[in-house]
């Protein structure tokens, strides 16, 4: 029983990170019908901004140890800002000129941007693994029979805050209404006076900022970061988005958590070798049996 709960908790902590990345995939898909394959690498970029900022803070803090939640929060905001700017430029330079080209052109461009980030990252940051600084002190927390750290709790709390914020933006603000309109049909939305370009840019900024949050949380929990670290979590988050129904925001969260929990249980069983494979098994199963995902609506495509 304890083992079960422990695995569940571990799974939720990883799943929350997948969910944050999956939100970026699903938002962009919802609006542009584009799978932004560079998204996993934006997550990597976020982790690296956190790494350099954290090291800088550690070197300049008076105590020599930035044992401070405010500094950690500041680093997270900085990383979100950098990734947000990157997301904006990415859309502006790479995707907008192709908006009226066939969708496959944007998809190939996305793969190109992804490679640029991965191997450009190897060039700029160096290919060796780096070790994420300890931004806040770490304690062990006992919850009933299960053991966790304050880090896992931070991951969960921060992830839930940002998911709530996103939900509010999409369903509670005027901008969110514009977003939903663009996602429904962007030609008609533009006829109604909605600034489609600005909505799309902002969507990229929000998605990239969420990826930055995921990057920082990942760096805190699993301190090894390297330029290719975005590939696997990126793929799994993509699968999470497909599982939840791509384009569906709550679906991405449920999908992310599901993948995280399933992986934790497989990793903790005697089939631990298959942990990475299980996400892909899920992908194949969902494509075979329910291609629109758990929460997606089935739409017949007009040919």
């Amino acid at each position: 029983m304890q083992e079960l709960l422990q695995n569940l908790l571990n799974g939720i902590a990883v799943g929350a990170i997948y969910a944050l990345i999956a939100l970026g995939y699903t938002m962009v898909y919802g609006i542009l019908k584009l799978i932004n394959f560079a998204h996993g690498d934006v997550f990597m970029l976020g982790a690296f901004v956190g790494y350099y900022a954290g090291r800088w803070a550690a070197a300049h803090a008076n105590s020599g140890h930035p044992a401070n939640y405010f500094i950690a929060g500041g680093i997270m905001l900085l990383s979100m800002a950098v990734c947000g700017v990157f997301g904006y430029l990415n859309e502006r330079i790479a995707y907008r000129p192709l908006r009226n080209s066939p969708r496959i052109a944007s998809l190939i461009t996305a793969i190109g941007v992804s490679f640029l980030l991965e191997y450009g990252g190897q060039f700029v940051f160096g290919p060796d693994p780096k070790f994420f600084p300890t931004l806040t002190p770490k304690h062990i927390v006992h919850l009933g029979g299960i053991v966790t750290t304050n880090y896992q709790i931070i991951v969960l709390v921060v992830a839930v805050i940002f998911m709530g914020l996103l939900q509010y933006i999409i369903y509670g603000t005027k901008f969110g209404r514009a977003m939903r309109a663009v996602s429904y049909n962007f030609e008609i939305a533009s006829l109604m006076g909605i600034p489609v370009d600005r909505v799309i840019s902002t969507t990229f900024v929000i998605g990239s900022a969420l990826a930055a949050v995921a990057g920082i949380l990942f760096g805190l929990s699993y301190p090894k970061i390297e330029p290719l670290m975005g590939i696997m979590p990126g793929l799994k988050a993509f699968i999470a988005a497909v599982l939840g129904g791509i384009g569906n925001v709550p679906g991405a969260v449920v999908g992310g958590l599901t993948i995280g929990i399933v992986e934790a249980f497989v990793g903790g069983s005697q089939f631990s070798n298959f942990r990475d494979a299980i996400a892909f098994v899920i992908l194949i199963a969902i494509l075979l049996f329910r291609p629109s995902g758990l929460f997606g609506k089935y739409e017949a495509e007009k040919v």
Binding site: N10, G126, P127, T149, S221, S272
Partner: protein, 396 residues
């Protein structure tokens, strides 16, 4: 304009395809002159491939520094029969497939007389068949997987093997420390880890111990919590983790996060100046097998440690020590060989007997592995590495 652009792309592509020439430590030699050098009385070219970057970067870096110190000493002392040696280094990025490419390049383009490398057994296993089929002797300083030297009679080794290391550590924990239960956590994508896990398990069980849990991960994973959660309820006295230092540091941290207090025990894959930096306090009381100790009072070791510290500002680790010995054994064999062609040099290396190295006396046996190497057990204490025990391999 468009045409000009595509022309530029083609030029850039062709430039990037030709690649960069290998780094060479003393002066640069173009391929043409390099070949001429080897034939005439110029520099003797020796190829080195290693993980200078990537997941096991410190393995390659330490090895490279050990080789450079030895090569410079040999050249300062007059070289090999009056000729200087020159090391050509290729980075394999800690990837076996890159190791194969690097070695092919060193042999076919640079015509090196011998190859030094790698640390990771997976990389050595990928490169060994290429050296064997080209009849270029290869000395691996520190690949411990027994299969490496079985790839052919041109492949030599400077360190003990896993079928010695694993059982020796099992004997030490079971008999000397009286450990009764152990859990095993291996890296399934790593030849070294899989074999070492198996060898430890066999001997530990023979010694009356019990393996209470087994789990595995894949090279490059960051999350080990699931596996550790499955190990925890069986409450082992030690965790046998025959992985590489990058993973071990993280495994230790996550084990402590989950409330596992048993020490982690491992093999020479832990040997790295980064080990304690990554694992921090979580590694206190953990111990592993190393190839030598820098506190060894022997003058050979003292000379090496001092020179290394002076040049690189750090104490040499086991990988650097083995690389230093590998370079010296190779130079010593080249001095004895009448010619430097593959078969003659191979025979000379195979005849190495009683060479006094930093990692002990090196006698190469008929299976091209050294006989009677010692194993030093190092423990992490207060963030420092201290010698916990020494095991001398039986001569057989």
């Amino acid at each position: 304009m468009r045409k000009l652009g595509s022309l530029a792309v083609v030029v850039l592509l062709s430039l990037s395809l030709t690649g960069c020439p290998p780094k060479s430590e003393s002066g640069t030699a173009t391929n043409a002159t390099a070949n001429a050098d080897n034939a005439a009385g110029g520099d003797i070219l020796i190829g080195e491939y290693g993980s200078l970057t990537g997941n096991q970067a410190t393995f390659g870096q330490s090895t490279h520094q050990g080789i450079i110190i030895a090569a410079d000493e040999i050249n300062a002392a007059g070289g090999v029969n009056g000729r200087k040696i020159k090391i050509l280094t290729e980075d394999d990025q800690s990837k076996p497939e890159e190791a194969a490419t690097a070695v092919s390049k060193l042999i076919s383009q640079n015509s090196v007389v011998a190859i030094l490398g790698e640390v990771a057994s997976s990389a050595s296993l990928a490169a060994a068949p290429i050296c064997q089929s080209n009849k270029v002797p290869m000395i691996t300083p520190s690949s411990t997987n027994p299969e490496v030297t079985k790839k052919g009679d041109y492949i030599f080794r400077m360190c003990f093997t896993d079928d010695y290391q694993g059982p020796a550590m099992a004997d030490y924990t079971a008999k000397q420390l009286g450990t009764k239960t152990a859990a095993i956590l291996t890296d399934v994508k790593n030849d070294y880890s899989v074999f070492l896990g198996r060898d430890f398990e066999r001997r530990f069980t023979e010694d009356g111990g019990k393996i209470v849990a087994k789990a595995s991960y894949s090279n490059g994973d960051s999350d080990f919590r699931a596996q550790l959660t499955s190990i925890k309820p069986s409450n082992p006295q030690i965790l046998w983790v025959p992985g590489y230092y990058t993973d071990v540091g993280q495994i230790a941290q996550q084990a402590r996060d989950l409330g596992i207090t048993a020490p982690l025990v491992g093999g020479d894959g832990w040997v790295s100046p980064k080990l304690v930096e990554i694992g921090g306090k979580a590694l206190e009381g953990c111990f592993y097998a190393n190839h030598y100790s820098y506190d060894d009072p022997s003058p050979v070791v003292h000379n090496f440690v001092e020179k290394y510290k002076q040049r690189f500002g750090a104490k040499p680790d086991g990988m650097a020590a083995l690389a230093y010995d590998a370079m010296y054994v190779l130079a010593d064999s080249m001095k004895r060989a009448k010619k430097l062609d593959g078969p003659t040099l191979r025979d000379a290396i195979a005849a190495t007997k009683g060479y006094q190295g930093v990692t002990g006396t090196i006698n190469l046996g008929p299976d091209r592995n050294p006989i009677g190497k010692k194993l030093v057990i190092e423990e992490v204490k207060n963030g420092q590495l201290v010698v916990k025990g020494t095991i001398q391999q039986q001569q057989h």
